[in-house]
């Protein structure tokens, strides 16, 4: 086999975020997250359901970026019905973040003053509702002090500090499972609910990650080795889910 590439490491890191989820809507947004989600369902989380990114739940493993691929349709899931799933809590989304801070506050909306932004971005989108209803994982393909910031300009998806004073229902539903970047994997599994380093990707050092992060990262005594893709996973990524290598685009090649 060809040596494992960074995009494949990231896809597996995202797939791992879904481990243990069972029969829910696995709803990753963007090429690398979709590859990770489809990989998880094709291997260790077969009970999850996934959309074709248009309007149905497809039971088969679809290749990314192929609108004509044959779907094994198991349900109709038009856009409006997604919200019934969001509000039911039976969903785990992977979203991007233009900015993210130590407490997991995410900005997708705007850079600068939101009243007259320097850059209007995607907007709040579904982030406010997602975060207070079900599990969320973030994917940041360009880890730097511009994306991992002390304070986000607009909070689209609220982090742990923002929900701490809210109702029990909100606090119970709110979970930022993981943050996966092109440098490593992070979670909030400490008493302070601050972002901590779980693992660094191959050929990346802890110092590099700390330097590229604009806030104080919790770094434990033990930063574990990432789980690398198995041969079966590499086959699925390269031959089945992304045969045309669309995932490479996010990694600047």
């Amino acid at each position: 086999m060809i040596p494992v590439a960074i995009d494949e490491v990231c896809a597996v890191a995202i797939a791992e975020a879904f481990r243990g989820d069972g029969e829910i809507l696995c709803n990753p947004i963007g090429t690398t997250p979709i590859i990770g989600g489809r990989l998880a369902r094709a291997t260790f989380e077969p009970d999850m359901v996934m959309t074709d990114t248009i309007s149905v739940l497809a039971a088969n493993t679809l290749p990314v970026g192929d609108p004509d691929a044959e779907r094994l349709v198991e349900a109709w899931m038009p856009y409006r019905d997604i919200f019934d799933v969001v509000w039911s809590g039976r969903r785990h989304i992977v979203m991007g973040a233009s900015q993210i801070d130590a407490r997991g506050n995410q900005n997708l909306a705007a850079i600068g003053d939101w009243q007259k932004p320097k850059a209007q971005l995607l907007g709040l989108r579904g982030a406010p509702g997602n975060l207070v209803n079900h599990a969320t994982t973030y994917w940041v393909p360009n880890h730097s002090t511009r994306t991992f910031v002390p304070e986000v300009d607009v909070v689209s998806g609220p982090g742990y500090d923002r929900v701490a004073g809210l109702s029990a229902a909100v606090r119970d539903n709110h979970e930022i499972r993981r943050v996966v970047s092109n440098l490593g994997v992070f979670d909030f599994a400490n008493d302070e609910k601050r972002m901590q380093l779980v693992s660094v990707h191959p050929n990346i050092t802890v110092d590099q990650v700390v330097e590229a992060t604009g806030f104080e990262l919790v770094v434990g005594d033990e930063v574990v080795e990432p789980r690398l893709p198995t041969d079966e996973e590499l086959h699925l990524i390269r031959e089945v889910i992304d045969p045309h290598g669309l995932r490479k685009a996010e990694f600047g090649s």
Binding site: G123, P128, G157, R162, L166, A169, V170, H174
Partner: protein, 289 residues
């Protein structure tokens, strides 16, 4: 009716809901009729695409109320982006699901629907007019949960584009998703429905099952037959998105001269037939070169 007949029933200052979603099944022939009219000072309520972009670029919009604004294959609507970055419009930006509840509340004639969406995020900061409401029912811990009250989006008029309709206003979608077009119709005092083709009532089941007849005529006040009326947005199964045309439209956001030319030639073409003729002439030119 014609597109211009519809516009004659609208007025400046109105709140107008526009169906479709992003760059999908937008009633663009009606949007262009507004573009070439004297209407101004409009509040546009939409899961936005080029409808918002075009009307913002023409200065028709006082306020945009939206769950998002996107061209799908081009994630950021560039003309809307200009309007936001130059602060030429007021805006109400809501969570995508919260936006749905505003339509639903208007359709059901209740003042609001409650949701958790927005709690903890800057949705409440960005929209200081939004209020929260305490549940009248205690939860298991005896607390009365605080929820966001999404106000009803009462629309003076709604514009939607369907694949088929009969002359009485029964609308039919034949694509994979109705989006919220039925709710737009129900949330509005008056609804104008354009369609690819007007068919006799007895032919409404020729191309789709009964499940596709989601907009009954009691919620529709006028029908416009507009073949390719959603162009350049998609309208499956009748046609897909005209990506080349959309790219040309998007590129004009960076070049005021190009926008002036595009506006004059396409957006303000004197009628839908003339617009289509100009679009087709453009495609012929491209295929010859």
């Amino acid at each position: 009716m014609t597109e211009d007949d519809v516009v004659a029933e609208l007025a400046s200052g109105m709140t107008i809901g526009i169906g479709g979603w992003g760059s999908r099944r937008k009633p663009m022939s009606l949007v262009r009729a507004i573009a070439r009219s004297n209407l101004e000072d409009l509040t546009i309520v939409t899961y936005g695409g080029p409808d918002v972009g075009v009307l913002c670029a023409l200065g028709k919009v006082r306020r945009a109320v939206y769950g998002f604004v996107s061209l799908d294959s081009i994630p950021l609507e560039p003309h809307f982006r200009n309007a936001r970055q130059q602060a030429t419009i007021e805006f109400t930006e809501l969570d995508e699901g919260a936006f749905y509840l505003g339509l639903l509340a208007a359709a059901h004639r209740v003042p609001f629907y409650p949701t958790r969406a927005g709690l903890g995020s800057d949705m409440l900061t960005m929209n200081p007019e939004l209020r929260t409401v305490a549940s009248p029912y205690p939860d298991e811990g005896g607390d009365h949960e605080e929820l966001v009250a999404i106000p009803a989006f009462c629309l003076d008029a709604a514009l939607v584009h369907m694949n088929r309709a009969d002359a009485a206003g029964n609308g039919q979608f034949l694509g994979p998703d109705l989006y919220f077009d039925d709710l737009f119709a129900k949330a509005a005092s008056r609804t104008y429905l354009s369609c690819e083709k007007v068919v006799p009532t007895e032919n409404l089941l020729d191309e789709g099952t009964v499940h596709t007849l989601k907009i009954p005529r009691i919620f529709v006040d006028g029908v416009v037959e507009a073949p390719r009326g959603a162009h350049f947005t998609e309208c499956p199964p009748d046609y897909g998105r005209d990506e080349a045309f959309q790219r040309e439209y998007a590129a004009t956001a960076r070049d005021p001269e190009a926008w002036e030319a595009f506006r004059e030639y396409y957006v303000e073409a004197p009628g839908h037939d003339e617009y289509l003729a100009r679009v087709d002439a453009r495609s012929d030119e491209k295929s010859e070169s």
